[in-house]
Symmetry: C2
DNA sequence: CTGAAAGCGCTTACAG
DNA sequence: CTGAAAGCGCTTACAG
């Protein structure tokens, strides 16, 4: 077979071995650093050969051979929803120093894309995956697990405890928001939410309802929690009579939608409507927004998830069935962030 | 050699070939779809074997063998700066249907991380890279190119036209903002900027200065364009006497910093200070923010960059020297988005 | 349309 | 501490 590829050949481990006057095996051992010892003299020879040849080991070959890709997949619903970049930053923070590369997958609303992402992660043989997309079905997570991938579910939960999970206490968060509103003297409040089949929303609602019970509480739903949809839903809510004087939004984007709709209708916040959101995306800190909210600690959730994943991978390198250790559940505490939109200041 | 890895073996192309009663080569041809023809009968046999065995081709092996990883690297400065997710979304939009996987790299401020990202992209043998980090040095881009990777620089420029570039016309954008401010009757305005060694900032400034000339114009610098630093710098600016009544910020985060500082000092926007930003991050649409700004079209920039990259890769599969076609330059037009902060409404 | 065989660039027991 | 050789799971000319 001659000249299969008419391209500039890259330098390989063989070139390095030749120049250093040692075997490929020895170069490989030098590269892996930890596991094997290499004498000082050969180490030096190898190092200078690598430098001279400007050699970069081929990660595909390494992965194929060692059955370890040093890649981890992160799947989020949408990268433009500011909650997710924050979580991804948390993941990166810990994954990065550990030498892993991040494959980003977006599941969108779309179930085709969801299937694509799952397939991609499996085919690329990621060492682990962090699934942080609220819209991803449990079956998709199951597929990853079946394929032998270590997976951690972050900022959401599965119906059955299939894998490690890291979440905040959403019920508590909902309760905190509701109690704060009640503390302002509001006898009635409305919960503005995305679809209630998203567990986090449902739990926040439960927390809310533990304070505003029965007839006193009401829910108003948006189809999704995109700003446009949220605004649309908020218009509906604000035209309902009697108009609520206090609203707890299931996340900050929904809260911003409410702000937008209120503004258009000439209603002021907090004077006409007191508002609390959920997540604490950075936008809320801007003076003109000044959103009181519950911090869902996206960054920490990401970091903790990455830490748990790294531990799993360490325990089961290559393909595992997640078998040894039973699924763990890490619960972080939410935190009320008081700013202007609730009427405190 | 017996039992090298005590792990559940995954199903391989050999298993599929065996079950389907054909050779690995034929299965491979079926998998590649486009290039080869496979008879209807064998196609069916292969398909059912794949389904029965739940087979997923190993992308590492495919990449090693074909010298095509179907991965593209995207490097941004910071994923939590809302400008970048928007650009990444644009990239994804076109990369995704084309079957590429996105490797995300963050260069941060840190030049160690920058080197890591470059190394990672090279070792993983990405088919191409999109560099959108304003803080990444030209030398790093050069390294990628030297390693035979197709690279597109997005939303920034290199000193020398080394690779394809997609940018907006920053000078024009700066001019549009300045002219709008001048149209409001402001005889003097200040340019609030990040470091002027970032070309985009410098060009925006040039556009600004083409309207507010010489003594009339002034610059005020922030160390970075993080919100906290921006706010800090804005305090300085607002305490300068005479206090400017119009500010053009080099990007929206800087503008938000100015809003924050102004609010703290009891200054109103636009009554006391008219403000225009740059980028049009979605936050500006929120009523309480209502930021007049210049749309830098992050999403389109990302999409166009991805398109150019796909074309390069198609032309030079595997390792190329980006040689054949000279570097291209794609310039998009910025667009003024008028909202409340400039005093228009 | 299909298959045999070499090769992609590494790693890893095993033997020394 | 070092090396020979097999193997990781694919793809691709080449021949039929």
């Amino acid at each position: 077979m001659v000249n299969r590829f008419p391209v500039t050949p890259r330098t390989t481990i063989t070139d390095v071995a030749l120049l250093a006057g040692v075997s490929k095996a020895t170069v490989s051992k030098y590269l892996s650093a930890t596991d094997y010892y290499v004498s000082e003299k050969t180490r030096e020879k190898i190092e200078s050969a690598i430098k001279e040849l400007n050699y970069y080991p081929n990660a595909l070959a390494q992965g194929l051979s060692s059955r370890r890709s040093y890649a981890i997949g992160v799947v989020v619903a949408s990268i433009t929803n500011p909650f997710y970049p924050e979580l991804v930053a948390g993941v990166e923070e810990v994954i990065d120093p550990a030498g892993y590369t991040l494959l980003l997958g977006t599941s969108a609303e779309n179930s085709d894309k969801e299937a694509d992402v799952v397939r991609t992660m499996i085919q690329r043989r990621v060492d682990g995956a962090i699934v942080a997309s609220a819209t991803m079905r449990d079956g998709s997570v199951q597929k990853l697990v079946n394929a032998g991938i270590n997976v951690i579910v972050a900022s959401r939960e599965l119906a059955r405890p299939l894998v490690d999970t890291v979440v905040i206490d959403n019920r508590l968060g909902g309760r905190m928001a509701a109690e704060h509103l009640r503390g302002h003297g509001f006898g009635r409040a409305v919960f503005l939410s995305g679809p209630l089949d998203v567990l986090a929303f449902r739990q926040r609602f439960e927390g809310f309802r533990s304070v505003y019970r029965e007839a006193d509480s009401a829910v108003h739903l948006a189809r999704t929690s995109e700003l446009a949809e949220a605004t649309e839903a908020a218009f509906g809510l604000l035209r309902d009579l009697p108009r609520p004087s206090a609203v707890f939004a299931a996340n900050d984007t929904l809260a911003l939608g409410l702000m937008t709709a209120a503004h258009t209708l000439g209603l002021r916040i907090p004077e006409d409507i007191a508002l609390i959101g959920f997540d604490d995306i950075w936008v809320g800190r801007i003076p003109g927004v000044s959103l009181t909210t519950v911090d869902s600690r996206a960054r920490q959730v990401g970091a903790v998830a990455a830490g748990m994943l790294a531990e799993r991978i360490g325990r089961h390198p290559g393909e595992s069935r997640n078998a040894r250790k039973p699924p763990e559940r890490h619960v972080l505490a939410p935190q009320l962030i008081v700013r202007g939109s609730c009427g405190c200041s």
